[in-house]
């Protein structure tokens, strides 16, 4: 079977590329095993992995089509034509099929892991489909360039060029992502790619890729070189037109759910909510909040609720609510410990004070005190941030007092702390 796919080249011409694609895809997935299993992010990997797999596939397609242009390839082209399909389409579909199979196998582990551990949602068919269309797009570019310059020596250059092309949305203009396969936008648990953006991108990839495959035939007929240039220019023009359209009329490619589902649990008078995709983080989050509230001595006036960022609709955050962004490379205890302790110490009140009164000096002093209080709270709750040196209790000043005394002061001055009004005794 492999022999038929690869024919008329040796089986190694199919197995080696497949092995490379498989290795790169699996290698790029490794770091994602250390992250939370969320379906939007995992589904998007099907096209994000093309950042490296795309250039590789383009180089593979280029090398194969450029090799087939050499004397050996004349027979190959003739036999490919014998399948009844035009040889450029036959070659294109074979390379795509081989790479797609390898790509699928390389993606399977991370998808299997997400399927096993994710607590919310399911695979986003659109994102995954766009990954395979992007793969076809990369094959088409490689084959097209091989028709324009059939020199196998240039293989690496094609890889570099396609790499740079796929970097455009990240480096030059984000709007180019509307017509290029790699988006460079990590999706949160409550986000998804919009249907219009997916449809437009699919249309663009099919149009550009199709034009390139069509143009890739003409390099095969050296007796009519004049017919080579026009479609080649046409294919490049199609790409350019789509890039310009994307730049002039940038589309909203990713939206957050307007009313995301949430799972809430009251802890010591504070409401703690997470997105169902972060169910596994709820126990850690509640434990952290409970420890901090106990360290404070009572339910703080500054914090009425703690929300995972994905569980809130986009827009203004209601007063008294703390938004915790669950970071990829930090434990929930560290992230929430930092955010919630600063909020309890009235940090939001200090910022609001600066905004409303314009009195910088007072409130910046307040920020410094809020920071001290937050550190003390974290120390009492047994949280040490990885970015901080271990807490050394001061020998003089307010925080040298015994914890019970400090808690009594906090109980008496709860509202003042929430509004960043720290008294002189605090100094």
């Amino acid at each position: 079977m492999i022999r038929r796919i690869a024919w008329p080249l040796a089986p190694v011409t199919a197995l080696l590329p497949a092995g490379l694609v498989l290795a790169v895809t699996a290698g790029m997935s490794v770091e994602h095993f250390g992250r939370r299993p969320e379906w939007p992010a995992t589904s998007a990997l099907a096209h994000e992995h093309l950042a490296l797999v795309g250039p590789l596939v383009a180089a593979i397609a280029f090398h194969r089509w450029a090799t087939l242009a050499r004397p050996l390839g004349l027979f190959a082209a003739a036999r490919l034509g014998g399948t009844g399909k035009p040889e450029h389409w036959a070659n294109f579909t074979r390379v795509w099929a081989v790479c797609a199979v390898a790509y699928t196998v390389g993606l399977l582990p991370i998808f299997a892991r997400t399927a096993a551990d994710a607590t919310y949602g399911g695979p986003a068919a659109g994102s995954i489909l766009l990954g395979y269309l992007g793969l076809a797009f990369a094959v088409a570019i490689g084959q097209f360039l091989a028709a324009v310059a059939p020199l196998p020596v240039l293989t690496v250059l094609v890889a570099v060029l396609v790499f740079l092309l796929f970097q455009l949305p990240q480096v030059v203009l984000d709007a180019f992502g509307a017509v290029l396969p790699v988006q460079w936008h990590p999706l949160a648990a409550n986000e998804h790619e919009t249907a219009t953006a997916l449809l437009f991108r699919a249309f663009a990839l099919i149009a550009i890729g199709g034009a390139m495959v069509l143009a890739s035939r003409l390099g095969r007929s050296p007796d009519r070189p004049a017919r080579t240039a026009l479609p080649a220019l046409g294919a490049v023009a199609v790409l350019a037109v789509f890039l310009v359209v994307a730049a002039v009329n940038p589309a909203t490619r990713v939206t957050a759910a307007a009313d995301p589902p949430r799972r809430c649990q009251p802890v010591e008078g504070v409401e703690v909510c997470v997105h169902p995709a972060h169910d596994a983080d709820l126990p850690d989050l509640t434990a952290t909040v409970a420890a901090l509230v106990r360290a404070y001595g009572r339910t703080p006036a500054a914090v009425a609720g703690v929300h995972d960022a994905a569980s809130l609709p986009p827009g203004e955050v209601p007063a008294g609510r703390v938004v915790v962004r669950l970071l990829l490379d930090q434990t929930t205890r560290d992230t929430a410990g930092e955010d919630v302790s600063t909020a309890m110490a009235g940090f939001a009140g200090c910022l609001r004070g600066i905004r409303v009164t314009g009195d910088r000096a007072t409130y910046e002093a307040g920020i410094a005190r809020a920071g001290e209080l937050a550190r003390w709270l974290r120390h009492q709750a047994g949280i040490t941030l990885p970015s901080e040196a271990p807490y050394q209790p001061p020998t003089t000043g307010f925080f040298a007092k015994p914890p019970d005394e400090i808690r009594a002061w906090l109980a008496a001055n709860d509202d003042n702390v929430a509004q960043c009004r720290y008294g002189a005794e605090f100094a």
């Binding site: 090398h63 050499r70 004397p71 050996l72 020199l151 196998p152 020596v153 240039l154 293989t155 690496v156 250059l157 890889a159 570099v160 740079l164 480096v171």
Partner: protein, 202 residues
């Protein structure tokens, strides 16, 4: 001149001019290689990547196309084969110069020419010994592998014949020796070994 025409001179010059334009356009772009948590990233400026790719591909493009005939050639062919090597290195350096002309003066670029010469020499050596199609791929893959080593295992990376941005500069002898070895090998074999030629023959 006929020797140059038969060794893809026009394609090489076009390639290097194109790379130089891209290098100038994207001179401020660098690709961070940051695979290790506790080691500093090894940035690859686009200029360096393009110059290396250009050098490797140019080394492949300048391979003799009629090896059997050139093997018959006298010392004059050897001279030409030798001369092409520094010319290719110079064209790769042109790409660096085009990019460097655009970036700010304090950007770390001084390490780059030595790296590019070493890698281009390696590309020529690979072309002589392994053939023109393998050489460019090998050059770029070796370059990227070296960058990954410099990022993940800096202790080993310090021993590589490549420097890194803001790192200790490479002794000037290293690129000169690399260039001399590549030139001598190319002259001795008239540009490509018989074995390498047989490897890529249809």
């Amino acid at each position: 001149m006929r020797y140059l025409a038969a060794h893809g001179a026009r394609a090489v010059v076009l390639l290097c001019l194109g790379s130089a334009v891209f290098a100038a356009l994207g001179a401020r772009i660098a690709i961070p290689v940051d695979l290790a948590t506790f080691q500093p990233p090894r940035d690859i400026p686009l200029i360096e990547l393009l110059a290396t790719a250009c050098g490797g591909v140019a080394a492949g493009l300048t391979a003799p196309r009629m090896v059997e005939w050139e093997k018959l050639g006298t010392r004059r062919v050897a001279w030409w084969a030798a001369l092409v090597v520094p010319a290719v290195a110079a064209l790769a350096l042109l790409v660096v110069a085009a990019g460097v002309a655009v970036v700010a003066a304090d950007a770390p670029w001084h390490y780059m020419p030595a790296n590019v010469v070493v890698l281009t020499s390696a590309g020529v050596l690979a072309r002589v010994l392994l053939g023109p199609v393998t050489a460019p791929v090998l050059t770029v893959v070796v370059f990227l592998a070296c960058c990954v080593v410099q990022n993940t295992v800096p202790d080993v990376g310090a021993w590589l014949p490549l420097s890194r941005p803001n790192g200790a500069p490479l002794p000037i002898a290293v690129p000169l020796v690399a260039l001399a070895v590549a030139t001598a090998t190319a002259a001795r074999t008239r540009g490509m070994t018989t074995w390498a030629h047989a490897l890529g023959r249809d």
